[in-house]
Every structure is written in structure tokens, then in C-alpha cells.
Symmetry: C2
Subunit: 269 residues, 2 copies
């Protein structure tokens, strides 16, 4: 259905996405570095999965905007239940991707907004309210708007695996088999850095790093990153080369050769 969207609809989608990200800035910044406490959503599963009032406030603000601007679309968010739609389009939102980083005061968490159809994400935004950076991609757009102005997003090209810069949120996430597969790639690249959450995909789209590899992801973690990376010319698939927009394992690469090289090491994990 993506090919049948009118120019007016495309414009409305982009506008609604920006409005939703705008709405998340005030609540996320108001609580940032203010000693906000976290509830543990994962306690019942024996793992720490923090959520804060900032996550909830921001998601409510985003849902309100989207329901008003795009009443026929569905909504899938991290903190509240899914909302069905009639248009065939679904908004996939994460008010704070990287709540752990947020709780530590790091400036690398992000607000994620994406809209998808059955095939996958059409358009996505990664917004970092503290640095004032917004990365967007899809529907013909691929750019960073930030304090220094606007920059086109374009992944780096032609770098070999042995020269590549790899980001991930590991080693906390993933099964032992996933960790072993990740290590096969990590051993062969030039440089590995951890802990960036969605900001890693933004840096890939900006041409600063070459690979992002993660596991244990949810649909709302991946929709906007996939849209931004693909719009910048990169590839984003699961660890077997298939679609990744339902979450799980994600391999994002700056170009096709690098994607193939990493895939060969991850496959079958």
C-alpha cells in the first residue's frame, strides 16, 4: 500500500511524526537528570526493566497527537496497550529508547516515532531532546536537524569488515549463542563501542559507524532505526537476512558488502 499513498498523506505522516516527537521533548527533558525514580517492569521475569514517569508522560503526549492527527491509524507503543486502526498504517513509538541510559544521565537515549504498513517501516524519527538532534528517514527524506543546522544522512561506503566501527548495547542483552555470534564479528572489526541504544543507528545513518548489531529487541525498538538507516542507504535485517521490523535480532550495516560479511558470521546463531 505504500506506493498508493498520496503526496498529501505522505506529508501528513511526516508532519504527525514530527509533532509527536515534539510533544515528547518537554516531558522527557523535564525529568532528565532530576533524580527521577524508576519502576521495574521486569521484576516478575527476574530481570531489571526500568520505566519512569517520563516514559509514561511522553507516550501519553505522543498518543494524543497521533490520535488527533491520524485518527484512522493504529498505535503500538512500549508503555500502553496497542490501539487498532482502519487505515492499514500503524505508528510504532518508544517514548524513551534507552531508559537505562536516561536514568544514568547519558545524552544517548532517544524518542522513537515510526509509521509502518505490513511490509515494514515507511518513515521514522530518532530524536535526542538533550542534544537537540533529530534524525529522520523515509518517504524521500534522510536528514539530521540539530544545533549546527541540517545535514543529509548517508551511510559510509566501501569500508571492509577489518576497518569497520561496530556499536551495540551488549553485553547485557542476548543469549550465550547470540553473544558468541556477536563476538565473531567483534573480533574482526577495527573498533567496538557499547551502550548507545538507538543513538547507534543514528550514527550509522550519519556515516560515523559501519555496523550496529543487537538482539532481544522489541518492535518499538527497531521501527524508527530501520527507517532511518534504510533511508540513509544502509541495510537493516535480522541475523538471517530477513525482515527485522518485528524485533528480535537486528543487523544494520552501512553497505551491502559489509552487511554480507557480518551476516555470514551471525547466521545460524
Amino acid at each position: 500500500m505504500r506506493d498508493s499513498l498520496s503526496p498529501e498523506t505522505r506529508e501528513a505522516l511526516v508532519r504527525a511524526a514530527h509533532a509527536a516527537a515534539d510533544a515528547a521533548r518537554a516531558p522527557t527533558l523535564r525529568h532528565f537528570r532530576q533524580g527521577i525514580g524508576a519502576d521495574d517492569k521486569g521484576a516478575a521475569q527476574g530481570r531489571y526493566d526500568p520505566v519512569t514517569e517520563a516514559d509514561r508522560e511522553a507516550e501519553r503526549a505522543m498518543r494524543e497527537i497521533l490520535a488527533r492527527e491520524r485518527p484512522g491509524d493504529g498505535i503500538l507503543g512500549e508503555e500502553y496497550g496497542p490501539l487498532g486502526g482502519t487505515s492499514g498504517l500503524t505508528w510504532v513509538i518508544d517514548p524513551i529508547d534507552g531508559t537505562r541510559g536516561y536514568l544514568c544521565g547519558t545524552p544517548t537515549w532517544g524518542v522513537l516515532v515510526a509509521v509502518r504498513d505490513r511490509q515494514g517501516p515507511l518513515f521514522g524519527l530518532i530524536d535526542q531532546p538533550y542534544t537537540g538532534e533529530r534524525f529522520e528517514g523515509g518517504l524521500g527524506r534522510a536528514r539530521l536537524a540539530g544545533p549546527a543546522g541540517e545535514v543529509a544522512l548517508r551511510t559510509a561506503r566501501g569500508r571492509r569488515l577489518s576497518e569497520a566501527r561496530l556499536l551495540t548495547t551488549f553485553p547485557e542483552i542476548g543469549t550465550p549463542a547470540e553473544r558468541a555470534a556477536f563476538d565473531r564479528v567483534a573480533e574482526r572489526v577495527r573498533l567496538v563501542r557499547y551502550g548507545m541504544d538507538c543513538y547507534a543507528y543514528a550514527l550509522l545513518a550519519l556515516g560515523q559507524v559501519d555496523l550496529v548489531i543487537e538482539a532481544g529487541l522489541q518492535p518499538y525498538d527497531v521501527a524508527a532505526p530501520i527507517a532511518v538507516v534504510e533511508a540513509a542507504g544502509g541495510l537493516a535485517t535480522d541475523w538471517d537476512g530477513g525482515p527485522a521490523h518485528e524485533g528480535g535480532r537486528l543487523l544494520a550495516a552501512a553497505d551491502a558488502d559489509l552487511h554480507a560479511a557480518a551476516l555470514a558470521l551471525l547466521q545460524g546463531a
Copy 2:
């Protein structure tokens, strides 16, 4: 000798430190995210230790300022040879702490400037030019100046080990024994995050995290962080509780109880 410093000298030291950090902003920002290449200083030792023209330009600019403002002081920097002094004071500078993060485009590297006597650091700055944040501590000062104004630096107090937030640049750095000791602490805290370099100590001083533990450090990695953390009320020692300003292993903690709890797990590593 620190107790005999005149108010004029103290003021001159603070002024020179700020001037040196100011001088590093232009060269570090000019090359940031511009596809700058790196030389590998560590190739002869079989490890990757990148240095960029941004590191070298920034250190030259800082040395020039310090030699002019404080001609009797020594200088110890990451990229150029040590300069002896006559005053008993030595500047310890790192033009880009976290060159790997810098090469990946992350906003968590920093410019480090500190001045020390034989006992250790007297005053230090952690500057993040991209976010415009400057954390300073020592000689009666403890504050963050940033885009949102000024904030006093004060570590969090009274948090138990099981509630603590731990940052580090691991797992790339450290021997297997050091890694095992680190893991003993990591298993007991609430939350572990990686990859922050000097920004981790800034967040500790700001009360956002509770512990920073690293190994394999150089004197220029630790001088400014120690000054900032101590000025904010935290503790910074090696893994046996002794002075850490010569580098090696550093344990920085928000308060004395937390420091003791982490030390008990690290000692003898």
C-alpha cells in the same frame, strides 16, 4: 604545597585551566563527525590505540596557552613529551579522552585539563565541546556550566550497592583478573552501562550514577576526573584504596559506604 597557594595563584590556575579547555574546543569540533582518519599509536604493541589530527592540534593549542599563562609549571600530555617545571605544579592534559568514541561520533568524549602537585590533582575540568558542557572541580569549586545554565556538582548519597548505577568503559580494557573483579561488583549493582569514557566521572559528580570502575588508565586519563569527583563529594582511589592519580585502576564512588562496598570486591585483583 597546596595549602600555601595564594588566592591570586588559585585564581590564575582556574583561569588557565578554562583558557586551555576553551582553546581545545575549536580544533576538536572542527574535525568531529567530518570523517577524520586515525593513526594507530598502539600498532607496535599489537593493540589499536587511535590518535587523530584533532588530538594533536588540540594538545598543541592547550600547551601554548599553559606555557604562556603558567610558564613555571610542568606539562604532562597524552600526545607530546613531558615538559618539566619549576613551580612544583604540573598540568595534566588529554586533548580528547575517548578518541574511539570521538571516531564513532558519540557525544561522550571529553577534553581533560587538570593541575596537580605531588599529592595529586588540585583542580580539574571535563569539557564536552559538542554538548557545550563543562564540569569543573577543586580549589573550592564544583559545578557544571552548560546550555541549561549552571548546576552545583554533588554526588548522590546513601545508595546501597544493590541500588547502584555503575559505569565503565569495559569490557575492552583490563586483564582477565581485573575483568573478574569488575564482574563481582557488576553482578551486585542495579544497572551497568558501558562506553562513556571521562563522561562517566562527570555523571558521577552530577549525582546521576554511583560508581565508575576502570583499569588500564594513564595519568592523563585520571587527573581531571579525580579532581571533579572529589570536589563533588565522591571518593576516587585505586582498587586497593590508595592514590590513583598515576593511573592504572580507578574506583570512583559517590560516597564512603559505597566506596567501601565496591573496594571489598575489587581488592587483591
